[in-house]
């Protein structure tokens, strides 16, 4: 009975949602004004950033990104606090069966290129699709590969913590520099440069690199904490 009621109400909700969202007309021109034009023009003319998504994420709505970075920081911190074990309690990673030689050599071979790809993605975040969050995640997957392949591979928690903190401080430091120099938090303090250059967009590229480091360190920390959870 209970299940039936839940099912019926979920169906009603689903039908209603489909009705609403098919009626919106995504991808069509359906509102004349709005902030989108300001974003498109501002990104090209003022900020000189060819990837509009990046300029929105890091500059126009950079405050949200700072919040999202904090959310990730909080998640990794809360997880570390909940799954905390005293140092000598840290058990072996639960590995069902050891990796074969092929996987081990392959992982060693792939790891540097994964990290390099991640770095490329966040360094070019303002030029091509991608950015700090994506690049950081790619790097963390590299560490995940190493952690599940090698039983004794370990990452220093302190070092992760350094990277995390310094990247966060760099983000906020650049924002505060804008606050003191240009009177507005996160305002651009460097010359904008030329469109499509690597050194364009002023602080945007640097902030995205900081975000990349931070995300990589945090996700690696989360993976490491969870892998060491004993049952």
């Amino acid at each position: 009975m209970k299940k039936a009621i839940i099912l019926i109400s979920l169906t009603i909700l689903g039908v209603y949602l489909i009705d609403i969202f098919t009626g919106i007309g995504f991808g069509t021109q359906h509102f004349a004004s709005g902030v989108k034009d300001a974003y498109l023009i501002g990104s090209k003319e003022t900020l000189k950033v060819s990837n509009v998504v990046t300029s929105i994420v890091v500059n126009f709505r950079g405050f949200d990104t700072l919040g999202e970075v904090t959310v990730l920081f909080l998640a990794s911190m809360a997880l570390g606090g909940i799954l905390y074990k005293k140092r000598h309690d840290v058990g072996e990673r639960s590995v069902l069966f050891p990796s074969t030689r092929i996987v081990m050599s392959g992982a060693k071979l792939l790891f540097p290129s994964i990290v390099l790809l991640g770095a490329y993605v966040f360094i070019h975040g303002h030029l091509s699709p991608g950015g700090g969050f994506q690049g950081g995640t790619i790097i963390a997957t590299g560490f995940l590969l190493m952690l599940i392949t090698y039983r004794n591979y370990s990452v220093s928690h302190n070092r992760l913590s350094y990277v995390e903190s310094f990247a966060g401080i760099l983000f906020i430091g650049l924002g505060l520099a804008g606050y003191f120099i240009n009177n507005s938090f996160l305002a651009n303090i460097f010359p904008a440069g030329k469109l499509n250059d690597l050194f364009s967009g002023g602080v945007i590229g640097i902030i995205y690199v900081a975000v990349g480091f931070k995300v990589a360190a945090e996700l690696t920390g989360i993976i490491y904490t969870v892998l060491h959870e004993k049952d």
């Binding site: 405050f63 919040g67 959310v71 920081f73 911190m77 570390g80 909940i82 505060l176 305002a187």
Partner: protein, 494 residues
């Protein structure tokens, strides 16, 4: 002026990133720095409160993009009042838990203060921001620090409570995001002022569905009746001071969000009865449930939910007197419920289950804590010489002015229930013999100072309500002034 509103967010975040580094060198910095940051925030908010009495609302743009393009923070009499209240409570919670049972040597305790600081920051962010997506981000920050703090004791029950909260919080986020999406797809903006300005352009069907999603999402955080299943567990399982933080800080920010949406964004000035109905149901159900509780913190949790229902009712009256009463009740509830949580957790300190019967006879062994709990209980019932009396009176007069006599009858009847369950506890404290097995735990000095200062504030507001009514009155006027809010933000030039 010590700074601008953006520093409310930036300084704590900067501190949160620095603390792990300083913690490696000097362990005590982990609990000292959050206190310093919260004190700085309090100084900043008080000075901004002075500043806005002369210059009017402060609107700050971020990254140099004027609204509606960029994100903006609004420090108005209304949001400033709530922000100051939250930061003040956050500082008290910090001082109360400074010498926590689990001392600094245990690593999770290091995280406690950072999580607490970010909980306050997120709530202040919700109140100050002028952008709905930014609000969503801050709700996430509050949520995640809330989940972390709930499961702080890493017991089975607290994990369950945190998981429940996590589940409800995720549902809330989903619906909030859906609502934001619908609004952006129709109006092409995320700025609250511009949405309020353009709201008539939206079709009624979409307006209603996005309002429902918003109320659903924020109702979960604001503990509105059918959506508050997580709250009692969280209050029971979280450390005592965190209960106070939830009641005084998190829920208040959610109430702010719902009021901002209903009054400014959707402008439901004709249909506020909805609030009265929701609020009354919450009030009645929560107070009758509180009557049946056996655990002290659970009882306080239900009482807290009930009070939030009453706040909703007061907002639903819709007149300026109603809003004034609601804000006054928010203020009183914040200080009184914090005192109750603070002193209540010492009354049942050494017991695992924290049943109400464990307070038996504590009046003799913990005289000051018991007196303070009694003051808090009398104040929340609304007995005359205490602060709570004035806010309850304000609600009743607001209802009387709007000719809602039935409402007065219901509120007064339910208040009797409230009196019954609080007086029952006080009866046990003073007139029941103490069981041999219960040991009284003396409060630490800083906890005692915090509780006594809260008690003094309650008494002082009780005798001189004029100290606070001026600020609340300005805040209420500010909330009613929708066109002023839109004008302040959209015509900013700096």
């Amino acid at each position: 002026m010590v700074g601008t509103p953006v520093l409310f967010i930036v300084i704590p975040l900067l501190a949160a990133f620095i603390i792990p580094l300083t913690g490696m060198v000097w362990k005590n910095s982990v609990r000292i720095i959050p206190g310093l940051v919260l004190s700085y925030m309090l100084a900043l908010s008080v000075s901004l409160m002075w500043h806005i009495t002369e210059t009017g609302t402060v609107v700050e743009v971020i990254a140099g993009w004027k609204p509606p393009i960029g994100i903006n923070l609004v420090f108005s009499p209304f949001s400033g009042f709530l922000a100051t209240l939250m930061i003040f409570l956050g500082l008290l919670v910090w001082a109360y838990s400074y010498k926590f049972k689990r001392n600094v040597d245990s690593e999770p305790a290091l995280k406690y203060f950072i999580l607490l600081m970010l909980l306050v920051t997120g709530s202040v962010g919700i109140v100050l921001t002028g952008d709905i997506f930014n609000m969503f981000v801050f709700i996430e920050i509050v949520g995640i620090s809330g989940y972390g703090l709930t499961s702080f004791y890493t017991r089975r029950d607290s994990a369950e409570a945190a998981f429940k909260y996590l589940f409800m919080g995720s549902i809330a986020s989903t619906f909030l995001l859906l609502a934001i999406m619908i609004i952006y797809s129709q109006l092409g903006t995320l700025n609250i002022a511009e949405i309020a300005d353009k709201m008539p352009m939206m079709s009624n069907k979409l307006k209603v569905i996005s309002l429902i999603f918003f109320i659903l999402a924020i109702g979960i955080e604001a503990e509105i009746f059918p959506l508050n299943g997580w709250a009692p567990d969280v209050y029971t399982q979280a450390p005592g001071p965190i209960g106070a933080a939830f009641a005084g800080i998190v829920v208040k920010s959610a109430i702010y969000a719902s009021v901002r949406l209903v009054y400014t964004m959707f402008d439901l000035s004709g249909a506020l009865d909805l609030f009265i109905v929701i609020g009354l149901i919450t009030f009645i159900v929560a107070e009758t449930t509180a009557l049946r509780q056996e655990r002290l913190k659970r009882m306080l949790a239900y009482s807290s939910i009930g009070q939030m229902g009453l706040v909703m009712v007061a907002f639903g009256i819709g007149t300026k007197e109603g809003i004034f009463a609601a804000l006054f009740l928010i203020f009183n509830h914040a200080i009184i419920k914090s005192l109750l949580f603070f002193s209540g957790s010492y009354l049942v300190y050494n017991k695992k289950n924290k049943f109400i019967k464990h307070v038996n006879g504590m009046g003799k062994y913990l005289p000051i804590t018991s007196i303070l709990f009694t003051i808090g209980a009398f104040a929340i019932i609304g007995l005359p010489p205490f602060a709570g009396f004035w806010s309850k009176l304000a609600i009743l007069t607001a209802a009387a002015d709007s000719k809602m006599l039935m409402l007065i009858a219901i509120i007064l009847t339910v208040s009797i229930l409230e009196a019954v369950y609080y007086l029952r506890v006080i009866n046990r404290i003073y007139f029941f013999p103490k069981k041999k097995s219960t040991e009284a735990k003396k409060p630490t000095l800083n906890a005692l100072i915090v509780m006594i200062s809260l008690g003094i504030i309650i008494m002082v507001i009780g005798f001189y309500p004029d100290l606070i009514t001026g600020i609340i009155d300005r805040a209420a006027t500010d909330l009613m002034d929708k066109t002023g809010y839109i004008k302040d933000i959209l015509t900013i030039n700096n």
